[in-house]
């Protein structure tokens, strides 16, 4: 069984900001039903590009649920530029750490966030370097290596 921190368990049992945000103006979606994990992130961004509200829908394990919940808490109040710098490591740190095998669950959060930002700004996400290891989350091996390095 995974060693989840109390913070992870709390965010799993009592996820913050669950559901569809009715007046969202930025939406990012990653993963799929086939792959076993999926995240839909809703952001409400004001005219100063500040995130005034955020919510999520997640299909996945406890880390995926907790990471999504944490992500919405982290980005609320940030500008899009600030939010763009949020890493999966920040999400894990916010939760007091994730099991090594579960780091990819937080990568999914980062990926959905970037897509939401791109959705708002109407830009295409550039092709990423590296070899695609998980088509569903669009996670590359380099990202996983980064994530593993960044999280010891």
């Amino acid at each position: 069984m995974w060693e989840y921190t109390d913070k992870v368990k709390d965010h799993f049992m009592h996820p913050r900001n669950v559901g569809e945000l009715k007046d969202a103006n930025a939406v990012g979606e990653t993963g799929s039903l086939n792959c076993g994990d999926a995240l839909k992130l809703f952001l409400k961004v004001d005219e100063n590009e500040r995130i005034v509200d955020a919510s999520f829908m997640t299909f996945g394990c406890a880390s995926a649920v907790a990471s999504s919940s944490a992500l919405t808490e982290i980005v609320k109040g940030m500008t899009l530029d600030e939010a763009a710098k949020v890493t999966n490591g920040d999400i894990a740190d916010y939760l007091g750490g994730l099991p090594k095998e579960k780091m990819h669950c937080s990568v999914m959060g980062k990926s959905a966030l970037q897509k939401a930002i791109a959705d708002y700004r109407g830009i295409q996400i550039m092709e990423k370097p590296g070899e695609m290891v998980c088509e569903c989350f669009e996670v590359t091996d380099l990202e996983i290596i980064d994530a593993v390095k960044a999280n010891g």
Binding site: G36, D37, M57, F59
Partner: protein, 390 residues
């Protein structure tokens, strides 16, 4: 909190009667049965009795029972012995829903030792493609190994029928009966099997003790090479205490077989019908007519298994989301994939496996907990909207 344990295909509680039987042999009669003193020999006698009881459960002779350290060792030993008996035969046959103790071994033999491995597929109900199996039998087949019952779905393969066809051709037949033992009747004689694996911890004996039945007259090559224990068929000082415990557990299993197929089965059926009735978009995996009496593999659309398990865990309910042998990945199990269970419900599959220790009150508590867990999880699932899958 009280624990509601419905993970008996993963492992079982050691029965009180078994513990009682074992206790005197830890600190009291701890002698080595191979020793030349009465003290050691007293243990030797108990082991002979235990061997008889194990043999009785599967209608074998005591001489045909080799004690091993687990089901995995029994499986590995059986295959290794067959390959040594027929060094020139290069085909080995199994199914694609076996336990990793067989499946990973066969893959290793294919990838590292160049064996021609046939993985016979199952259909959507988890039943074996018998035609394909029989067609794949060839002169250079060293062994066919097929599980008697599947650990994840409980689906039962028609072993007596298969074994007869396979052994008729002079091909060795091994069956992994780790999940079948204690749940359905097993008769090695009637079933024509050459080798059969059991594991103690699935039938209320301790973990770390297993059995390999080897038919009399069959040439056997030991897997653990060492001393002369087990008539030279398995080196290593005998695990006396666990052997004695396993003897008792087999005696109890034989007695409780009728309970398993009435009381336990009824509880399982009750749990199944309640879950189907109270939760929408639910499907049961595996051949319902051909299933272990204690096992329920059931998939809930649009939610993910680990999340369900954690919510059950909060209520003290132990279950499993597939095989207990997880690698840490959340991929649907190889068994569900082989059965082509759709992703939408494969990811949300839970296995409840019962024992005679379970009660109706426990089933009711599971149903209540499941109803609320699935509701909560579907409320946050991007694939669930307005009461159905999107």
């Amino acid at each position: 909190m009280n624990v509601i344990y419905t993970d008996n295909n993963a492992t079982t509680r050691v029965a009180d009667e078994v513990i009682e039987e074992m206790l005197p042999f830890f600190g009291g009669f701890y002698g080595n049965p191979s020793s030349m003193h009465t003290f050691g020999d007293r243990v030797g006698k108990k082991i002979r009795q235990a061997r008889q009881k194990v043999a009785d459960l599967i209608h074998a002779d005591p001489d045909e029972i080799i004690f091993t350290s687990c089901g995995t060792e029994s499986d590995n030993s059986a295959v290794f012995s067959a390959l040594n008996a027929y060094p020139d035969k290069k085909r080995i046959i199994t199914s694609n829903v076996e336990h990793p103790a067989i499946l990973n071994l066969f893959k290793y033999l294919r990838d590292k030792k160049g064996y021609d491995v046939v993985l016979v597929p199952v259909d959507k109900k988890g039943d074996l493609d018998l035609d394909l199996l029989y067609d794949s039998l060839s002169d250079d087949t060293a062994i066919v190994s097929l599980m008697w019952a599947n650990n994840e779905t409980g689906v039962i393969f028609p072993i007596p029928e298969i074994a007869e066809k396979v052994t008729e051709k002079g091909i060795l037949f091994h069956t992994d009966a780790v999940q079948a033992a204690g749940k359905i009747p097993i008769d090695v004689r009637a079933a024509h099997v050459d080798m059969l694996s059991l594991s103690g911890h699935k039938i209320h004996a301790p973990k770390g003790i297993g059995v390999l039945y080897v038919k009399k007259g069959m040439k056997f090559f030991p897997y653990l090479i060492g001393g002369h224990q087990e008539k030279g068929r398995r080196g290593g000082t005998e695990n006396t205490v666990s052997i004695i415990g396993l003897g008792k557990a087999c005696e109890l299993a034989a007695q409780q077989l009728p309970i398993m197929n009435t009381q336990v089965k009824e509880l399982r059926d009750y749990l199944q019908s309640q879950l189907l009735e109270k939760i929408p978009s639910v499907s049961v995996n595996g051949d319902l007519e051909n299933r272990l009496p204690n096992t329920l593999s059931i998939g809930f659309d649009a939610v993910e298994g680990e999340s369900i398990l954690l919510m059950l865990d909060k209520e003290g309910i132990c279950a499993s989301s597939g095989s207990a042998c997880t690698s840490g990945s959340l991929d649907p199990s190889h068994v569900l994939m082989a059965m082509e269970v759709p992703f939408k419900s494969a990811h949300g599959t839970i296995r409840f496996s019962l024992s005679h220790y379970n009660t109706k009150e426990e089933m009711d508590h599971i149903v209540k907990t499941m109803v609320s867990a699935i509701e909560t999880l579907r409320a946050m699932s991007p694939f669930w909207k307005d009461g159905k899958l999107v």
